[in-house]
Amino acid sequence: MNNVRNKKRANKSLPFFFKDEFKVFFVIIFVSTILLVTTFTFDKVPPILNRGIQPATFPKGLLVLIMFLTAVIYYLSFKNPWKKEKKLPKPFFLTILSFILFIIISKTLDFFLAISVLSIFVSYNWGEKRIIYLLLVGILFPLVVFIFFEMILGLRFPPGIITNLYYY
């Protein structure tokens, strides 16, 4: 209980723009505003074909609702500040980095190579240093998954430097 109170107090002492409440409020309002502006670029249906409401009206209404509710939670947070979350550890950022690597490799080199690299990268950075286990998660398991999807579901994976060896 004391711990939660201390965390709340710690959060209260920060300038408003460093607080989680403001960050969340800002991000939602910012993204919603961009999306709201986008809705004004949607094509309009001529009145003779318009049945009910214009295609932009419904998303506009939703975005206004989201922005209004976000303002309400921000207002309520003055009375009841959110508890301050722990700092994110290094493995979290490395996992995010592995996602970026996955996207780059799957786009430029090979889908399966991307899975293998991510699996080995994540497993290693989460503390697995034994080569045999890294090979298990990085090569053997993705291979089993590949064969399973290929044979049972008849799936054709996107071409790439390794996948092509199998297909051609």
Binding site: T39, L62, I66, K86, L118, W126, L153, L155, F157
Partner: protein, 490 residues
């Protein structure tokens, strides 16, 4: 009598029986592993169901749902970590009882009460779903719109966490459903010139992202966590004294769970918390709760499993999911060309009663597997996260890719994974996003068609008695959290 025979059909089909056994075992494994669960597991296995006929596919998904909900109790009792969110209340008394050297008794009670709750809810499903489906014949577009709004407000009202955050998440889910070509006018919305977005955002990338990938990120922040495991010799059936002490609690929680399950919300999670608190309120020994009360375990477990059948009622009768997992099951139905709703009850009773029967049998199967195999299933938690989660990632990526064979879907999955992580970190539940996404087209479609019927006059909604009733219920649902917080302050 005919319906009873139809329900028993899975027992006489070797294929369905194998699917049921596999689904139950797989569901138990998913339930046992913290962070996974029937929703993620169902979403991951959905692409594989394409090789099955519709009945086998749905039987597989429902058996995963039933067994996965129970499986969470095993880890809750033995390592004080709920395998699924629905088992959170089970930790409160399950683990303390296990620490006293009575893990077998705690798991025995969890297994029996889960089975009773599950079977009770299937009975509710069998009797209540056709009635609701019959009622749905009276529904037109305005009524469906009002019903969908009621569903979303209920999410805010009795879902986990802040009601306003739940509403934001639900609205966000509906907003995602508007991406792509407008289904009435074919006008592009939020596509930003990307062709792949014209068909909209698929359900599977969002579900797998919000549940599996965001959980992977959560696990990356918990690597230093050490689980203390309690030894288990064998699961013990409850004694006569235990039965005497808990039978009322089990029945009460079964009723609560089935009722909560019918309401579109977070099904088992909320049901188990209410079941637990009601068990405490009615108990002769409330001071024992939190210290290893057998009634606490019974109350939580009967309720969360009873929510499974309850949640299937609106899913099958109205096409409105009662929980995140039933949203996955609903997607499975749609993928296999089965349209839930009143016509399904009239045209395909064999299919429906096959599902009911499969759920009934799944409850019996997880009792057997849980009773004899809990020790083995508990060992699955020994697989370290550094091995397990890269493997889950590989399956998630391939599963997501396989449905549309689109790499964009995989990137969408990763985006929603990161988004889901931050949503959870800041107290936004991801379940309303899923429900909102699946209800989005229904909400917008019925609203626009209603306005066509009403010639653009919004007030005409109030002239429809059923729609008006749902709107009033929605207002009550929205007011409920306010009243509850005022009462708590007092």
């Amino acid at each position: 009598m005919d319906n009873l025979l139809l329900m028993m059909a899975p027992l006489f089909s070797s294929k369905l029986l194998i699917v049921l056994i596999f689904g139950t075992l797989f569901g138990l494994i998913l339930g046992v592993l913290p962070g996974l669960g029937p929703t993620t597991g169902g979403a991951l296995i959905l692409p594989f169901t394409m090789t099955l006929d519709p009945l086998s596919a749905i039987v597989l998904l429902t058996s995963i749902y039933c067994a996965g909900t129970y499986g969470g109790a095993i880890t809750a009792v033995l390592i004080n970590t709920p395998g699924t969110p629905a088992a959170a209340a089970t930790c409160l008394d399950g683990y303390p009882l296990a620490q006293k050297g009575e893990a077998g008794r705690a798991l025995g009670m969890a297994t029996v009460s889960s089975t009773v709750g599950g079977i009770f809810s299937v009975i509710v499903l069998v009797f209540f779903a056709p009635v609701l489906a019959q009622l749905a014949y009276e529904f037109g577009q305005p009524e469906y719109f009002a019903l969908a709004i009621f569903g979303l407000t209920m999410l805010a009202s009795i879902g986990e966490g802040s009601p306003i955050k739940n509403l934001i998440a639900g609205a966000f889910g509906i907003l995602i459903s508007t991406i792509g070509k407008d289904f009435m006018t074919s006008i592009d919305r939020f596509t930003y010139g990307i062709n792949e977005l014209s068909v909209g955002i698929g359900f599977i990338p969002v579900v797998v992202g919000l549940f599996a990938i965001s959980e992977m990120l959560t696990q990356s922040t918990l690597l230093d966590q050490v689980f203390k495991r309690v030894a288990l010799k064998a699961v013990k059936l409850p004694s006569l004294d235990d039965y005497k002490k808990t039978w009322k609690t089990i029945l009460r929680s079964s009723g609560i769970g089935s009722f909560i399950g019918v309401l579109p919300a977070e099904g088992g999670t909320v049901a188990s918390l209410i079941g637990y608190s009601e068990a405490k309120r009615f108990s002769k020994e409330p001071e024992e709760f939190g210290k290893g009360s057998i009634e606490g375990i019974a109350g939580a477990e009967a309720a969360n499993n009873a929510a499974t059948g309850g949640a299937m009622v609106p899913t099958l009768a109205l096409g409105i999911p009662g929980s995140a997992t039933t949203a996955v099951i609903l997607t499975g139905l749609i993928i296999h060309g089965v349209r839930p709703g009143p016509d399904l009850f009239r045209e395909q009773p064999d299919f429906l009663y096959g599902i009911f029967g499969a759920m009934l049998i799944a409850n019996v199967l997880f009792f057997i597997f849980g009773f004899f195999g809990a020790k083995l299933f508990a060992r699955i938690t020994l697989v370290p996260n550094k091995i397990l989660w890269p493997m889950i990632f590989a399956v998630s990526v391939c599963g997501t890719y396989s449905l549309s064979q689109s790499i964009i879907d995989v990137w969408i999955m990763l985006f929603f994974g990161v988004l889901g992580f931050f949503m959870r970190r800041f107290g936004f539940s991801v379940v309303p996003v899923i429900i909102g996404l699946i209800l989005g087209e229904l909400v917008e479609g019925t609203l626009r068609q209603s306005l066509v019927i009403f010639d653009g006059n919004w007030l005409m909604f109030l002239t429809r008695p059923i729609a008006l009733t749902f709107f009033i219920l929605s207002l009550i649902a929205l007011a409920f959290p306010l009243l509850r917080s005022k009462k708590q302050k007092k």
